[in-house]
Subunit: 389 residues, 2 copies
């Protein structure tokens, strides 16, 4: 996808909406525009589309339809899972211990920080290895009878590593503790069956898989203690108030179906491109390291740190040269502080400030990647020269 | 607007998206699709559209641009205002008393109920008169130094009454207590200047004024103590995390501009239609009362109670006869319990179960209204006969 001749290589931050998704959304703006809570025919029409979409999503993740809650984004899903279960578990059985990894998205880490500072919960961090992977044994060691919830990211947005969610989930289940995973990145590229993954709650956002920005899913396993974080009308089984955004919900279902059904096809497009970026970058540029796991990683995701490089300057130069990339997480770009995720992996500061994430999409071609790979080494050299001056 | 020949008379529940609004949204789905948090040109393009939209909204309500927080709906705005200020005021100065009216939208009343039950706040209800209006003197009597927040609905969704928000706001300000109003209905039809209204926080939802469902505004006056209810990335001045829904934000700004700029024109279309419905219904049908204030009410809003009528049966018969109306609030339609709002107005149960709300829109014609008024009396008679059997 080009825009003013800029090649977009930041598909982990967001994606364009697939034209087939836009098509299914359109009738809901001003033809089938009813409020799904209304009893008349306009309302019934909206309600039917809502429930059809819910069933599509449920089938794709192997859940019951009533276990699907539509939210406004992946971040809201994370908030609802953490806040909702933490408050419910504290009220019902006094559990106030929360266990998360140090490589969570800010929608998880900042939420548990607030639960700690404002609401008195105790937050404990599970260590990760140098690839940002959580060892299930470390969860086993730290989980307690008074743990309210465990949350471990499925695939990391900054470094692409995919965690052994199924094994962590098995441990949580055997201890009777609820387990949430942020699958916002992972659901775009990998199967996310809730029973295979052994999760009680799972967050998904549509705009990572060519759906619209502003709609997400929280899967909540039947029987999970949870209080609503957004109260009002009785929508979404009394768990998420607010008039349903039917165009986007219908669009999410369509986009998720395309992503999950077209999974293998997308994979065979992504992998050669991804591996070409990784291999060429590691081969051609001095003092560079791949961040995240070399094989257990998202199929469209590459991420690096360059020693002695200012990541923000590099991004600006790449932008000027016609490539839209990221330093790691769109949610904190521009932040001059080193990434907490990279620090958790044990990289020293002189490396962490030079991070680069290059993520590919359905429209990315090998020609574009070759052009990018011809440009990158010179720019890295220039940025290093700038710093030396 | 017709759908399968059903005339839509439920514009207080939702509206179709104005085609001019759909037009401005379209380029953001798959051309200008950047994540506004990204630093590259795609991100900058999104960020510019975001800030332009924020300025449009700010100008329309007479606020600073940075006082506008984009949310996913009016209900979320209400939640954020109540939860955010209550937690901040309790933390900073131990204030844990909340004052609301009994005619709030459920997004306010159920939120303070949760704040009471789960978080230990004390909620006090300000009485209303038979029109559902809050007397500012009653606020004066009840406001306390340890009041964390006062919330009074601007224009009521069920009964259309418009409260004296400016006077209530003056009292709150003189006592140094933060004041929120839910203007989700009002902002669609009336000027909502935040200084004229003397509010510190104001909730708005786009889908009441021909914008999309799934986007709203919370106005937060500079200096208002508030903690985020949705944590994660630093979006919206660290007050509302989540990737921006740029198409809908741009659409909201356009729709709100059309609504506020076209205010007088819409008014002169609505008032004769509204008054025709009110006068004919009261004249032609026995044992009927207008609910809400006869003059201080929304220009497109009519609402009634019919003695000895089952409201849900009436709605079904109207739907079958080709008219989509509501019993009061779309968020609780189907609920067999009498409306709390109508009970607060002092109506006995035999009246409250027979409520009907007929709200008109930009496309509503006098012919449609005459047809409706010819149909209604016979249906009311039939429903009453059914109950007598």
């Amino acid at each position: 996808m080009r825009n003013n001749s800029i090649i977009f290589l930041d598909y982990a931050s967001t994606t364009p909406v697939d034209p087939r998704v836009v098509d299914v959304m359109m009738p809901y703006f001003n033809q089938k525009y009813g409020n799904s809570s209304s009893t008349h025919k306009y309302g019934q029409q909206a309600e039917e589309s809502l429930e059809d979409s819910r069933q599509v999503v449920a089938d794709l993740i192997g859940s019951k339809s009533k276990e699907i809650i539509f939210t406004s984004c992946g971040s809201e899903s994370d908030n609802m899972a953490l806040r909702g279960v933490a408050f419910a578990e504290r009220k019902s059985r006094g559990a106030s211990h929360i266990l998360i990894s140090p490589v969570e998205h800010h929608a998880v880490s900042n939420t548990v920080n607030q639960l700690q500072e404002l609401h008195g919960f105790e937050v404990e961090i599970i260590p990760v290895d140098r690839y940002g992977m959580v060892d299930p044994d470390e969860v086993q060691k730290r989980i307690r009878p008074d743990t309210a919830i465990v949350s471990v990211i499925h695939a990391n947005n900054e470094i692409g590593s995919v965690n052994p969610i199924d094994e962590i989930g098995k441990i949580c289940r055997s201890r009777g503790i609820r387990f949430h995973t942020d699958a916002v990145q992972g659901a775009a590229h990998l199967p996310v069956n809730v029973d295979s993954l052994n999760v009680d709650l799972m967050s998904i956002g549509a705009h990572k898989f060519y759906g619209p920005k502003g709609v997400g899913i929280l899967y909540v396993r039947e029987g999970t203690p949870i209080v609503p974080s957004l109260t009002g009308g009785g929508q979404e089984n009394n768990l998420r108030a607010g008039t349903h955004n039917i165009p986007y919900i219908v669009g999410l279902a369509k986009a998720f179906d395309l992503a999950q059904q077209g999974h293998q096809e997308r994979l065979s497009h992504y992998l050669p491109l991804r591996d070409r970026i990784i291999n060429q970058t590691l081969d051609q540029i001095p003092s560079v390291k791949l961040t995240g796991h070399p094989s257990h990683r998202l199929p469209n995701h590459t991420s690096f740190v360059f020693k002695g490089v200012d990541g923000n300057t590099l991004l600006m130069m790449l932008d000027a040269a016609g490539y839209a990339c990221s330093s790691g997480s769109a949610c904190k770009t521009g932040d001059p502080e080193p990434s907490e995720v990279l620090l958790a992996l044990g990289f020293p500061r002189e490396w962490t400030l030079g991070s680069l994430r290059v993520t590919i999409g359905q429209m990315t071609t090998m020609d574009e990647i070759e052009g990018f790979l011809e440009t990158l080494p010179g720019l890295i050299h220039q940025v290093r020269e700038l710093i030396t001056l």
